[in-house]
């Protein structure tokens, strides 16, 4: 059972896009060790001959007829936006500073 360091948890937090404090990272590292120790039990019975199940229903490619139906108006779609402009979502800058 590998134990997680603060740096390991910081990396997971970065992947999950959560800006955690050092204190949170430390307490999570401890908790994760305990939880992972408990859930690792699945490995005791998960032998190679068993097929994995991802979903309770054996569904594949469920589609609907390709018919245009009424949908949200631009105003409705933008109604919950933290910021909007010209019928579009306004977001903080995505690329680096322009030269």
């Amino acid at each position: 059972m590998s134990s997680l360091s603060r740096a390991d948890v910081a990396n997971l937090a970065r992947l999950a896009r959560i800006d955690m404090t050092d204190q949170e990272l430390d307490s999570l590292a401890t908790e994760m060790d305990v939880i992972l120790g408990a859930v690792a039990r699945v490995q005791e019975v998960a032998t190679p001959d068993i097929a994995p199940t991802s979903h309770p229903l054996p569904l594949r490619n469920v589609t609907r007829p390709d018919v245009v139906e009424p949908s949200l108006t631009p105003e409705e779609a933008l109604s919950g936006a933290p910021a909007s402009e010209d019928q579009r979502f306004r977001v903080p800058q995505i690329l680096g500073e322009e030269a």
Partner: protein, 498 residues
């Protein structure tokens, strides 16, 4: 009137004893009187409820044919979207958000004339077993206000036990309908996966989540089940076949000749003495009613909890990526020059609570390259084994039974700092979600040692939900004749009530 069943309220409206507006007003008054103590609701839609009630009264006056629950009030778990009504999922990240559309469950409730009183409290994004993880403070169990009402749907279960609503909607990913029902002395049903549309249900773990009915009687749950169930083209995982005949089953409550399998692994050590004694007593009732009690073994259930706490966090780490501070919900730190990524990171740090972050990190780990096979992959294999256990058990029995929850309601704060102890509350309910089958909890008495409610769990094969209702109704009838009055007649009065 407010202590009656939904079915009785409906009859009272049909006979002209009361109107939906009067009935709705009584419930709104009850909420005003006692919700300071209980905190079952995050939002009460007084105006919307009264106008829905008026629409039903007007339709009735015009002589229109109305459904069996028309005009009956209901409490909606705050994880289902209702157009224009605040929907938070118990999280700060959605504070103030008003969805622009209705969930299919909500559309069906409205079409059936059900009056939606408001949105109920829950563990944040349905992650928890106590409702303590709500960003808006815990809900209190009406049986003992110092105790938890179960979770994640503690607001829905508490609203029923506090007579704030005769019906509620819950959602169940690992027991979030059934465990709250058990600890509040109410009825909760997790239908077969795909039996009720998930369109408009804010996703936690998509392969496990299922909305279902919560009520004070088995018949009321069946009537509500009948309203919300059925195929929905807007949900690709919705089952396209007829809804099981749950209302007929609840009315007949016939278990003669039925084989009821007691799951050996879901009892014994770790289950409170009073939970076990009530369970044994319930089996005797069912045997007397003509059922045959057999024992079945599901050896892989002991791995279900571990597999669940890999699968659910893995799916949640993906599902909750949608809360990105860009299109709706909270946005924090959007100052000049801040990048989208820093705004996203900071918003998620501020907007998500501790348990949600814990599960996102756990899921991110379980899905990460190098660990996927050992964790998520192994959990998926355990899922196969659990489904096989159920398949085998259902060759020996028509339904399976167990206690719903290993203990009665614990004290608020008692397990808040021990995630593993908290997760154990769901040990008997999780296998049902893993297999996508149906599960029900029916109140079967008070534990003698603490006088708190205990629940009896009934599990049925996929799309055989009617079997749970037959067994639940039979047990309910036997217990009612033994007690002389429903279990909830024993609940202590709340200070806010007159």
């Amino acid at each position: 009137m407010i202590t009656r069943s939904a079915h009785e309220m409906s009859s009272a409206m049909v006979s002209g004893e009361i109107t939906s507006q009067e009935l709705t007003k009584k419930h709104l008054e009850r909420i005003s009187a006692v919700d300071k103590e209980v905190h079952a609701f995050l939002h009460v839609d007084t105006e919307g409820a009264m106008s829905q009630a008026k629409a039903v009264d007007d339709a009735r006056a015009r002589g229109e044919k109305l459904g069996p629950l028309a005009g009956v009030p209901l409490a909606l778990k705050d994880v289902l979207v209702q157009k224009g009504i605040p929907t938070t999922c118990g999280s700060k990240i959605l504070e103030g958000w008003r969805p622009p559309y209705d969930a299919t469950v909500v559309t069906r409730l409205k079409n059936a004339g059900v009056v939606i009183l408001g949105k109920t409290n829950m563990d944040e994004f349905a992650m928890g077993s106590s409702t303590e993880n709500s960003a808006y403070g815990p809900t209190h169990n009406p049986w003992d206000l110092s105790r938890i009402p179960g979770g994640s749907g503690g607001g829905s279960s508490a609203s029923l036990a506090a007579f704030q609503a005769p019906l509620a909607i819950g959602t169940d990913t690992g027991g979030s309908i059934r465990q709250p029902a058990a600890v509040t002395g109410t009825v909760g049903v997790k239908p077969t996966y795909g039996g009720v549309s998930r369109y408009g249900l804010v996703a936690f773990s998509s392969s496990l989540d299922q909305a279902g009915p919560c009520a004070r009687t088995v018949l009321d749950a069946a009537l509500l089940h009948g309203v919300i169930a059925g195929h929905d083209p807007k949900d690709a995982t919705s089952i396209d076949s007829p809804v099981p005949q749950v209302v007929a089953a609840a009315r007949s409550g016939d278990v003669k000749g039925m084989k009821i399998g007691v799951v050996k692994e879901l009892n014994g050590d770790g289950y409170q003495a009073g939970v076990r004694s009530r369970f044994e007593e319930s089996l005797e009732h069912l045997a007397k009613a003509g059922a045959e009690i057999v024992e079945v073994s599901c050896p892989n259930f002991e791995y279900a909890l571990a597999a669940y706490y890999l699968i659910a966090p893995s799916e949640c780490s993906s599902n909750l990526a949608r809360f990105d501070a860009m299109r709706y919900g909270l946005r924090v730190g959007d100052s000049d020059g801040a990048s989208a990524e820093s705004v996203m990171n900071f918003t998620r740090e501020v907007g998500f609570g501790r348990e949600v972050k814990r599960r996102i990190i756990l899921g991110t780990y379980a899905l990460s390259s190098g660990y996927f096979d050992a964790y998520y992959g192994s959990a998926q294999k355990v899922r196969t084994l659990i489904m096989q256990d159920f398949t085998n058990a259902f060759t020996k029995a028509d339904v399976l039974v167990s206690p719903t929850s290993p203990t009665t309601a614990f004290k608020i704060g008692e397990k808040a700092n021990d995630p593993l102890a908290m997760y154990l509350n769901d040990i008997a309910t999780i296998p049902v979600n893993m297999a996508g089958i149906g599960g029900m909890s029916v109140p079967n008495g008070l534990a003698p040692e603490d006088n708190l409610p205990v629940g009896f769990q009934i599990m049925a094969p996929a799309m055989q939900d009617q079997r749970m209702y037959s067994v639940g109704a039979s047990l309910e009838a036997s217990l009612l004749s033994q007690w002389g009055a429903p279990l909830l007649s024993k609940i202590p009065a709340l200070a806010g009530s007159k």
